[in-house]
């Protein structure tokens, strides 16, 4: 499968991977801007700018571009994350030119009409209110805020309500002009094309867009917590949730892979694919300790691939007949177990096998393969993905043990509880 990497004269990085198994192309444009680039007063701005990217340029007026892609039989979406924003289209291979023209156009020419901004304000507030309906969102928001004192990772991508109500059209437009630059972007395509011809077309459409000065990214690495913080979130319902977070290594560090194995053993295999689905975790240590012992009805672990150290999170749905404190002791015991004794080589081999299967599932979809091209470039580079399994295989039992010791210290964590007002305390 041919893969190529090129940087255009305006700084746009272009990654192309030919896949000729189906007449489909998936096209992704990544911008190095996310909620980590936001300061108080403009939290949620990157996500709102993402919405505004669908609200029109002179060539593709509001409401037209999504119809154009749909008419061609494509599917599309966009996402904002803490580290990046991305826009993708997966289309029949002979329809790719529309996606290329569209992305080249809105990288530079979005209009941000005031009426569209006003209309989208209520849509985004509606999105946030939909999130607020869910207890885990409320808990996540409070835990994330407690996990960081200054780093912008402390606020949610959707932003604070007060900021959503007060941000102006000019704030949004300034954010767009500051960060939406070809030298701050990665264009990645996977599918049924000829790389030479595709690159030529990309040059013709994207190279004329001028580079600009990318703002210094405000985020600074923050020291881990020095003592445990506890967060209590109250709200409606009957179900108690516990969320424990630890500061995690950035994805580009060797430790990331060791902690990924820790996660696999504790709560089941990590799955970084955007498309493809995961597997169950019923033989994981925490499932056996908490769910099989009827202290909890569910447990999950999450490690994310990020630019700066973010959070390793363990989320527990407490059994209806138990309380939050009933799960914390056993959780601590399992973490101490992995800190005190290295896992057996068979356990590591199993974690690798699971990762192999998950990558195989992810490779079924050209969209997912295209996703990985750009995603890995956001926090490292594509080699990170290509070498993932090898790096996982290189993790030794002692590495797992020392990663657990280094990162899963109770004094460095946030212990969050969602306590519903309906349930017994």
């Amino acid at each position: 499968m041919e893969f190529s990497r090129t940087t255009l004269s305006n700084g746009l990085q272009v990654l192309l991977k030919e896949i000729h198994t189906a007449p489909i192309i998936s096209h992704w444009l990544w911008l190095r801007v996310g909620s980590r680039d936001e300061t108080p007063g403009i939290t949620g701005i990157s996500h709102w700018v993402e919405h505004m990217q669908f609200k029109g340029t002179p060539t593709f007026p509001a409401g037209q571009l999504d119809k154009d892609i749909s008419r061609d039989g494509g599917f599309w979406n966009a996402m904002t994350y803490i580290d990046w924003t991305t826009y993708f289209e997966t289309v029949p291979a002979d329809k790719i030119d529309l996606a290329l023209r569209l992305e080249a156009d809105r990288l530079n020419n979005s209009v941000f009409e005031p009426e569209e901004v006003a209309s989208e304000r209520t849509v985004i507030i509606s999105e946030r209110q939909g999130n607020e309906n869910h207890p885990l969102f409320l808990l996540d928001e409070n835990v994330q805020a407690a996990a960081f004192d200054a780093h912008p990772y402390r606020h949610e991508v959707i932003g604070e309500m007060a900021d959503l109500e007060s941000m102006t059209r000019d704030d949004l437009y300034k954010h767009y002009r500051s960060f939406y630059l070809p030298n701050n972007a990665v264009l990645a395509l996977a599918g049924d094309f000829d790389s030479e011809k595709m690159l030529a077309r990309i040059r013709a459409l994207f190279e004329p867009i001028p580079a600009g000065e990318v703002p210094r990214r405000v985020a600074q690495e923050e020291a881990p917590l020095s003592e445990e913080r506890q967060v209590l979130t109250k709200g409606p319902g009957e179900t108690v949730f516990v969320k424990v977070t630890y500061r995690a290594p950035r994805a580009a560090e060797a430790d990331f892979f060791a902690l990924s194995v820790v996660d696999s053993l504790l709560a089941g295999p990590s799955n970084l694919n955007l498309f493809g689905g995961g597997i169950s975790n019923k033989t994981s240590r925490l499932y056996r300790r908490l769910v099989e012992k009827e202290l909890a009805v569910g447990v999950s672990g999450g490690l994310q691939a990020t630019i700066d150290p973010f959070l390793y999170a363990i989320t527990i749905t407490v059994h209806p007949e138990r309380k939050a404190e009933d799960v914390v002791g056993p959780l601590d015991e399992e973490i101490a177990r992995i800190q005190n004794s290295p896992p057996k080589p068979e356990e590591l081999a199993r974690a690798v096998k699971q990762a192999e299967a998950l990558f195989a599932y992810g490779s079924e979809s050209i969209t997912n393969q295209a996703f990985w091209l750009g995603f890995a470039e956001m926090f490292d580079n594509y080699d990170w993905f290509l070498n993932y399994l090898d790096r996982l295989r290189a993790v030794a039992p002692e590495d797992v043990q020392s990663a657990a010791q280094r990162y899963l210290q109770p004094e460095q964590r946030v212990l969050g509880v969602y306590q519903p007002e309906g349930a017994a305390a």
């Binding site: 892609i69 209110q129 009805v297 299967a357």
Partner: protein
């Protein structure tokens, strides 16, 4: 420009009679298989002819509980042993109870298909329903029901079904209610399994890096010997009576920030002659682009909702045809008014030529994309079998969609959607004083 024909290179990639294998075993199990030579993995999907239609009212949720309990232990393996077999190789397998059928799905690397099928056959034929595991499962089901009661979308859907379907079996929630789940014991699960699970009408579709002949033989090896002389035929559905008038119901869930609104009625079953025109019409109405006309009016123009779309259930019986939106509680009525206006427009006036050709182009053009993954292919095979569409269905699909006219869409809309006889289901927080 819209296109209603697929290019040859796309048509060639669509499953058809020349590359789908279909075999019916002697005991009634139908096996469908298609090879994907580029894939390292294999996916299976399927269903059995058992669902909540068989649940007594006081034990509603029995079929679903039984389905979930199959993997809790067999005569040969306990719960941890079952999941160890799967998770050690990165494979997955699960069951899900529905109204007419119980479905199952699984995935593994291609070389592990044999193990996956072995587990499937074992959990289907010899589940042991261990008491301790059933108790744990019950707690999990009750927690899901507690979360359902707090979820505005789920609760709006629940009361919608009750209002629209009334005495019809589709009014009942297939996962049951806390009191009905608590009324189900291990004995009930055992009896339900023995009485209803069997090979007649079972369908399994396998897609991925396994040759079809091998897939069929592996299924045959583990399922051919299964028989259940007791297995009943699925019950007939009663006729659904249209709503006599518009009905409204609101359920209050304190502390919520957003309300969910669902408006609609029963729509066509998949077998209806006007199903395809209804589906094309529904695409225009609430799906195309950013959620069709509904998304355009409720989200883009009025800014009232992050999501506002329409859905056509189809199915064996008259599944729901709905418009759904998540809105600020202060805007429930305004959103409903806008939705009703759009329903009237959809029923009274033909869609435009451009709208029709756009949606046809979208449905036809996107079909190869949805058939790219093993899961997409397996689900397509099941769809063809469940509704007797024929193995050439997806190759004919462009012509079927291309043949739909504006008049046929309007007739279908008018047939099912009478704005004076729709249900409005709302779930949201306490109302503040007006």
């Amino acid at each position: 420009m819209s296109e209603t024909k697929l290019k040859p290179q796309h048509l060639a990639s669509i499953p058809g009679p020349d590359d789908i294998t279909r075999v019916e075993l002697e005991n009634g199990v139908v096996v469908l298989a298609r090879h994907n030579p580029h894939s390292l993995s294999v996916t299976l999907h399927g269903y059995l002819q058992v669902g909540s239609l068989f649940d007594p009212n006081e034990k509603l949720g029995l079929a679903d509980f039984t389905a979930s309990a199959l993997m809790r232990g067999t005569q040969r393996r306990d719960f941890q042993a079952i999941y160890d077999s799967l998770e050690s190789i990165g494979a997955s397998l699960g069951f899900d109870g529905g109204t007419h059928t119980t479905s199952f799905g699984g995935r593994s690397l291609a070389e592990d298909l044999e193990l996956l099928l072995e587990l499937l056959a074992e959990t289907l034929q010899k589940p042991s329903f261990p008491k301790g595991q059933v108790k744990k499962l019950r707690a999990q089901l009750l927690t899901s029901l507690a979360l359902r009661a707090q979820d505005t979308h789920n609760m709006a859907a629940l009361i919608f079904d009750e209002m629209v379907y009334r005495d019809h079996p589709y009014a009942r929630a297939e996962e049951g209610h806390p009191e009905t789940i608590n009324a189900i014991g291990v004995g009930d699960l055992i009896a339900f399994h023995q009485a209803h699970y069997g090979p007649a009408g079972m369908v399994i579709a396998i897609a991925g890096g396994v040759e079809p002949r091998e897939a069929v033989e592996r299924v045959r090896a583990v399922l051919e010997g299964w028989n259940n002389p007791q297995q009943p035929t699925p019950p007939d559905l009663p006729e659904w009576e249209p709503l006599p008038e518009k009905v409204y119901r609101r359920v209050e869930i304190p502390g919520k920030s957003q309300s969910d609104v669902i408006i609609g009625t029963a729509g066509p079953p998949r077998s209806a002659a006007d199903y395809i025109p209804a589906a094309v019409g529904n695409n225009i109405f609430g799906k195309f682009g950013l959620m069709g006309r509904i998304g355009d009016v409720v989200r883009e123009q009025a800014g009232l909702a992050y999501y506002a779309y329409s859905g056509l259930g189809g199915g064996i019986g008259p599944g729901p045809w709905t418009v759904e939106a998540g809105v600020n509680p202060a805007n429930e009525e305004r959103a409903a008014d806008l939705i009703f206006a759009e329903i009237r427009r959809f029923v009274d006036e033909p869609v435009t030529k451009d709208e029709l050709s756009d949606s046809q182009s979208n449905l036809i053009g996107s079909m190869p994309l949805s058939l790219e993954s093993n899961g997409g292919v397996a689900r397509a095979l099941l769809n063809m079998e469940r509704y007797s569409l024929g193995l050439d269905y997806y190759r004919r699909y462009p012509d079927l969609v291309g043949a739909v006219s504006r008049d046929a869409i309007r007739a279908a809309a008018a047939h099912y959607l009478d704005p004076e006889r729709l249900a409005v289901a709302v779930a949201g927080p306490e109302r503040k004083g007006t």
